[in-house]
């Protein structure tokens, strides 16, 4: 560098100014990102319209791109079906015999249950399918475990609906565009499913951990030992998931108990989006204000409300 001259050469000055400008822009951009993240913490549903538009862009492209792969996959499946057909048929026959015996016992139970419900006047909201659609894309590379389905607001799909596969629960919708929606899978760390352990009747939460297995947490009555093979079904608590949908099986009862999901979204190309079991009323304050005696909100939701305002889902 020329020390005698007081001025730096123009080119060098320009480069230094540009570098300084670049550093300032980088800092500003990173600060903006952090501010966006804090906004996302305060208001997770922000930018919902942008997210919906992005879903509508992504999903149709993947629907077309995956067509040839679906054909190849079906071909492989058909070929695989022929191999090992005999052993599978024998195994299925054995299972069928067991299932028939269990079914007879179940029939008797069902009759008894119906009689009891009639006696106790239990009003149960029914399950209602909104649409059956397919999974078209997923986020295998991201921090969240979500899948994209090819049905959106135009089919009646909104955020907060249960998504069920052939073998059990897949997840729930969290965003909806006009022709596509995003499903939060059970394996996502943000997923919380209220379940009942079928053998013991205990309530618990099934939580995802970004791993193939799920974790069972917040079990009511943790002193009752669990066993590998205990089945978990949705309990209906929280009002999103209808009760009785298979969620998984306990494979390791040590704390925290490990759960294998009943349905794998990988195999479930087609899924059913159902209406929320007991959707929260849009405005619950008037219902509470109308009754003269204070009634717990839970009791109101479970159907113990005044005759004048029956639960809307029960009428469907």
């Amino acid at each position: 560098m020329d020390w005698t001259s007081g001025r730096r050469p123009t080119a060098m000055r320009r480069e230094q100014n540009l570098a300084l400008l670049g550093a300032v822009v980088s800092g500003a951009v990173i600060a903006t990102g952090l501010i966006l993240l804090i906004i996302a913490r305060v208001n997770p549903d922000g930018a919902a319209r942008l997210r919906g538009a992005m879903l509508d862009l992504l999903t149709p492209v993947w629907s077309v791109v995956r067509l040839p792969f679906d054909g190849i996959g079906r071909g492989v499946d058909v070929a695989g079906d022929y191999f090992g057909a005999v052993t599978r048929a024998r195994r299925l026959e054995a299972e069928l015999a067991e299932a028939r015996a269990a079914l007879q016992a179940r029939d008797a139970d069902r009759v008894a249950l119906m009689q009891l419900r009639r006696v106790a006047r239990v009003a149960e909201p029914g399950r209602r399918a909104i649409v059956t659609t397919r999974i078209v894309a997923a986020t295998a590379g991201a921090m969240t475990r979500t899948a994209l389905i090819a049905a959106g607001r135009s089919e009646g799909v909104t955020a907060g609906l249960p998504v069920v596969g052939a073998d059990g629960l897949i997840g729930r919708t969290i965003e909806a565009g006009s022709g596509a929606a995003r499903v939060l899978l059970l394996t996502d760390p943000a997923s919380r499913i209220p379940v009942t352990i079928v053998r013991t009747g205990q309530a618990a939460l099934v939580v995802g951990a970004n791993r193939p297995r799920l974790e069972l947490r917040d079990r009511v009555g943790a002193d009752v030992p669990l066993a590998a093979g205990d089945r978990l079904v949705t309990s209906g608590d929280g009002g999103v998931f209808p009760p009785g949908i298979p969620v998984g099986t306990i494979v390791d009862p040590r704390e925290p108990p490990q759960v294998r999901p009943a349905a794998s979204p990988l195999g479930a190309a087609y899924v059913r989006v159902e209406a929320a079991y007991l959707p929260l009323p849009a405005d619950s304050t008037p219902a509470v204000a109308e009754s003269a005696t204070p009634v717990p909100v839970e009791a109101l939701r479970s159907g113990a409300r005044p005759r004048a305002a029956p639960a809307a889902p029960a009428l469907r």
């Binding site: 951009v29 952090l34 966006l36 590379g141 791993r211």
Partner: protein, 185 residues
Amino acid sequence: MRDLPPWRLMTPAERRRHWQRQWRLAIPGLSVVVLIFLMTAPLLVPVPVFPQLALLGVLVWTTARPGLMPSWLAFGLGLIADLAFGQPLGLDATLFALAVAVVRLVEMRQRLDLRLFDWPLALAVVTLFELGAWALMTLAGQPIPLLPLGWQLVTSLAAYPLVVAYCIGVQRLGFGRGFGSEPGR
């Protein structure tokens, strides 16, 4: 672009040609958008096992053509990635811009030719990305476990040469031969 005379000396036809060539400045950004789209492939794995293709794309363009991958562009690409993956808005945006800034800083301080040891650099950047994602997800109120992200580190490193090959291909299509031979600033 460089063989053209200065603006005032151009004939109208040359000026038109100059403007028609400007779209090529969008090539790096578009190529990363394609990588983001690839990352939404319908692979329903319970573990974050798919490589961070978009981050690697940003990294390759930053080391090879720094002028075409400024931090604000990386920020915009990160926003697209956040929308596509359903992540908290700002997660990938912050980390992509940060990755560009870190690479610039390393390059400036160390006076290194990063193209000579790009794989160790990719290892360092992806490791920092996973740690940063873990920390920022906690900041955004959606904490995630750290260990499963290790899978992504491994697959990302394995996928790095593929992304480099892809970027070289895109570069040759868009700008002609000689990827990496000129700094591009």
